[in-house]
């Protein structure tokens, strides 16, 4: 990094900087790298001057002639303690000495003693203990943060201390601040992830506390620049005195802060946030106070981790509770769609969304703040192509550019597919985050400073980063959506099972009913047979019976015969429900002729004119169709009995995908008002003494035609005859081959 000008500053350059090997230290201390025997391998050029030595020392012994330093450091180096921390008196000054091991030797840092007794760790201990007690009682992260910034400012005396938290994207938000008014308040401001580059973030994770007492310092270079151990620049990652990036120093100057200190807050090993102190003027924080601040930082880390975990658990419970509440509302609803739409608040609360939509069978229902229905339809088309069960994004437009149009309403989308067969979805929406932010200052105030980097600039940069972005969906929210998806699928499945069960139940009871009616009619037959048989026997035996007695016996026989026929018809009717319909081509002309011959004997003595036309071949069950023809012609003959000449017409025609047949007579006819009753079981339109019959013939015919997937209709007029017409579907097309 050279030739730095304010114009040359940019964030990308910052991200490329070698911050672990700056080649120098900040001059508020001095640094030496020692070998196994205490020899000095490398040192900051200010070492001798800082410690008041006459010349650059070659070994620890030369720094503290006759003292304990060399012995203690070498003993530490041989042991396994990570950090060496001592107050060492050299020439009457109580130097703060710390050391840590590195691949290039042990790095020993020297700093000046505390200015007063009040700044020693011993003196600070009671404060820290009070702080621990106070944070334990704090319920919320914000309260802990507020206590922390107050305490750090009291310990360090910075003009302003802030606590940032980072979201998963690295965006920083100032959640707590304590200041004396010298520096402006940044409470609630957002900073883009690029303000703290990734490699700095990683360093902050490893090295919990950093101090820059004076942004205008001149670094003290390391000599020699390359390590005699491995020939590379000295790794200062863990050194407290590590010189920082000139870009960062420029940034500090731009911000009007000449000194700064930051303490990392780690939650589960990740950088959760920073406590950051600034002063307008140079400000030194001695190692003992820094140790106290480091300790405080760790307390805050633990407390926040506990709160974060508790919050996570609470969020889990809350999500479960909302899900249970919503599901319990869905259960009694006729379907889950209705249940959702009728409970918009629970539906939205489930994943803390501002809008939601349901897409089932192409029908879109929406609640809250959502894109338009056509936009949602386009979105589901895109979702369908991705075929994911759960999709959660806080920036739909970055995955699917057309979404930019409705980004203000729905930058964030959480979608679950709820059917394996159909493109059915439940969607939740979140608006663009810029609209949801609160801040105390006015971040849109124009930039007047000449500096390039500035918090206002940062806000602009942040706004750019979060453009087309919503608040991210948390892991719990995504999980909840996934669980809800299973619940909905179970719900749909259960409804389907219930329906299937009902259908099976119906089929079973239908079968039972048929078996029942069969066995009843079967058993009913025997008694009627016996009545007729014995009555006949009686009639034969008693030749001397008078006419009246004969009439009585004949009535018994007739009644039993009628009842018997009724039972026979019922049997045939119930049998039809159970028997197979075997379809094949049927010569209907032949069938009509046979019917005529079969019934002609019954018309002896009557004048009947038969008009049998050309009948197209049918496709059906020959036996059943014969029964239909027989019933219809029998009816026609029956109802033409009062006519001097009965005219029975049997005709048919091809109607494309079906064939039609009709039987017409010139009989007594019927009133079309009762046509609906004609095909019902036991429905009669005439008095039994006028026209006999059980009233089952047409019902049976209709059932046969129904089982052929055909239709049957009746047309008539009182006194002017009737026409019974039925149609039958033709054979499937493969049977038509060869035509």
């Amino acid at each position: 990094m050279n030739a730095l000008t304010p114009q040359g500053l940019n964030l990308d350059a910052c991200a490329a900087e070698p911050i672990r090997i700056p080649g120098g230290v900040q001059p508020h201390g001095a640094l030496a790298v020692i070998g196994d025997r205490g020899e000095i391998l490398q040192a900051s050029t200010n070492l001798s001057a800082f410690l008041g030595l006459p010349a650059r020392p070659s070994s620890l012994a030369a720094i503290d002639p006759g003292g304990d330093l060399a012995g203690e450091l070498l003993a530490w180096l041989a042991g396994d303690e990570a950090i060496f921390l001592r107050t060492v008196g050299l020439a009457g000054v109580a130097w703060q000495v710390s050391a840590h091991r590195g691949a290039q030797g042990a790095i020993v840092e020297f700093e000046a003693p505390p200015a007063s007794e009040g700044e020693t760790l011993e003196a600070l201990y009671p404060r820290l203990r009070r702080f621990v007690t106070a944070t334990e009682d704090a319920r919320e992260v914000r309260a802990i943060a507020q206590a922390a910034v107050r305490e750090v400012r009291a310990l360090t005396g910075f003009n302003r201390v802030m606590l940032y938290s980072f979201d998963p994207e690295g965006v920083g938000t100032v959640v707590a601040e304590d200041g004396d008014g010298v520096l402006p308040s940044y409470l609630d401001l957002r900073f883009p992830a690029s303000d703290i580059p990734a490699q700095a973030r990683e360093l902050y994770r490893l090295n919990r506390l950093r101090l820059i007492p004076d942004a205008n310092y001149t670094p003290s270079p390391i000599e020699p620049a390359l390590s005699p151990i491995d020939g590379r620049p000295l790794d200062l990652s863990d050194a407290a005195l590590r010189s920082v990036s000139p870009i960062h120093l420029q940034y500090m100057r731009n911000m009007g802060t000449l000194s700064s200190m930051s303490i990392s807050i780690l939650v589960d090993g990740a950088l959760w946030g920073l406590i950051s102190g600034h002063s307008a003027q140079p400000h030194l924080v001695n190692p003992q106070v820094r140790t106290a601040c480091d300790f405080l930082g760790q307390i805050v880390s633990l407390q926040i981790a506990a709160r974060v975990r508790a919050q996570l658990a609470a969020d889990h419970v809350a999500a479960k509770r909302t899900e249970t509440a919503l599901l319990s509302r869905l259960a009694p609803a006729q379907d889950f769609q209705t249940g959702l739409v009728q409970n918009p608040d629970l539906w939205l609360d489930l994943v803390h969304a501002q809008g939601a939509a349901l897409v089932v069978a192409g029908v879109v229902s929406v609640v809250g703040q959502t894109p338009t229905v056509p936009e949602i339809e386009l979105l589901t088309g895109w979702l369908k192509a991705r075929s994911e069960t759960v999709l959660a994004t806080d920036s739909l437009a970055s995955l699917w550019p057309p979404a930019e149009v409705f980004a203000p309403d729905a930058s964030g989308v959480l979608a679950i597919s709820i059917s394996q067969l159909h493109p059915d979805y439940i969607l939740w929406f979140r608006p663009e985050v810029v609209r949801t932010v609160t801040w105390s200052g006015d971040p849109t105030k124009p930039v007047t400073e000449t500096g390039v980097l500035h918090p206002r600039k940062s806000f602009e940069a942040w706004k750019e980063q979060v453009r087309l972005r919503s608040l991210p969906w948390t892991e719990i929210e995504t999980e909840t959506a996934g669980e809800f998806r299973s619940a909905i699928q179970n719900f749909v499945l259960r409804r389907a099972e219930e329906r299937a069960e009902l259908t099976a139940e119906l089929e079973r009871s239908n079968k039972e009913l048929e078996a029942f009616s069969y066995s009843i009619s079967h058993d009913l037959r025997a008694p009627f047979r016996h009545i007729v048989g014995y009555a006949e026997l009686l009639k034969t035996k008693e030749a001397a019976l008078d006419d009246k007695s004969r009439h009585y016996i004949q009535t018994i026989v007739d009644a039993a015969l009628t009842a018997g026929r009724l039972v026979d018809d019922l049997l045939a009717f119930s049998q039809l429900g159970r028997s197979q319909v075997t379809r094949a081509p049927v010569d209907m002309r032949k069938l009509a002729d046979e019917t005529r011959r079969a019934l002609e004997t019954a018309t002896e003595g009557r004048s009947v004119r038969w008009e049998i036309g050309d009948l197209p071949a049918a496709f059906g069950d020959a036996g059943l169709l014969r029964q239909v023809m027989m019933n219809l012609v029998d009816n026609a003959l029956k109802y033409t009995r009062p006519r001097e000449e009965a005219v029975i017409t049997i005709a048919g025609e091809d109607r494309g995908d079906m064939t039609a047949y009709w039987v017409r007579d010139n009989g007594v006819g019927f009133d079309m008002a009762y046509v609906g009753k004609l095909f019902g079981v036991f429905q009669r339109l005439h008095r039994i003494e006028d026209f006999e019959g059980t009233g089952i013939g047409l019902a049976l015919s209709k059932r046969i035609i129904d089982r052929h997937h055909g239709t049957i209709e009746a047309y008539g007029k009182l006194g002017q005859g009737a026409t019974l017409l039925f149609t039958l579907p033709k054979a499937p097309s493969k049977d038509d081959e060869g035509h």
Binding site: R525, R529, G533
Partner: protein
């Protein structure tokens, strides 16, 4: 004379039995009518065992067999007889209560010689019995026995 061999009627319902006997009487057949009331007894008669151990020798001219019988039903009797080479030749007329029952028997393909669906109309029943009884009892020569089954 073949026509003097008895007709075996198997019927459990007393009224049907009486009516069938009346119909047979009307036909004025010379054959003796043997009645049995269930399938087991019918088989006992054919095999000349149990209560019928001492019956006169000779197979029935025809068996009029009801389908529904206590103990051993008509189908089982039929199966037993048609599976026995000694009695396979005896003509069997099944008396059934419905067309459905007739279909059922046919589906077993047991070699039934004829069916009578008992009609409600007594006269029709009489005619059916008359034609069948006459045909099988009088007109039919008994088929020659296969094998030396006469050695009892």
């Amino acid at each position: 004379m073949a026509d003097l061999r008895p007709i075996l009627l198997v019927e459990d319902n007393p009224r049907d039995l009486e009516l069938t006997l009346a119909a047979l009487a009307k036909c004025q057949l010379a054959n003796e009518i043997i009645t049995t009331r269930d399938g087991a007894e019918a088989l006992d008669y054919v095999y000349a065992r149990g209560d019928h151990a001492g019956r006169p020798a000779g197979d029935p001219a025809v068996i009029l067999l009801d389908l529904k019988l206590p103990k051993i039903d008509g189908l089982e009797v039929l199966e037993k007889l048609k599976g026995d080479s000694n009695f396979r030749q005896i003509p069997v007329v099944m008396l059934t209560s419905s067309r459905e029952e007739r279909d059922l028997v046919q589906s077993y393909e047991q070699g039934v010689n004829a069916f009578v669906v008992k009609p409600v109309d007594f006269n029709a029943f009489f005619e059916a019995i008359e034609s069948l009884g006459m045909f099988w009892a009088i007109l039919n020569e008994p088929p020659p026995r296969s094998g030396p089954a006469d050695g009892r």
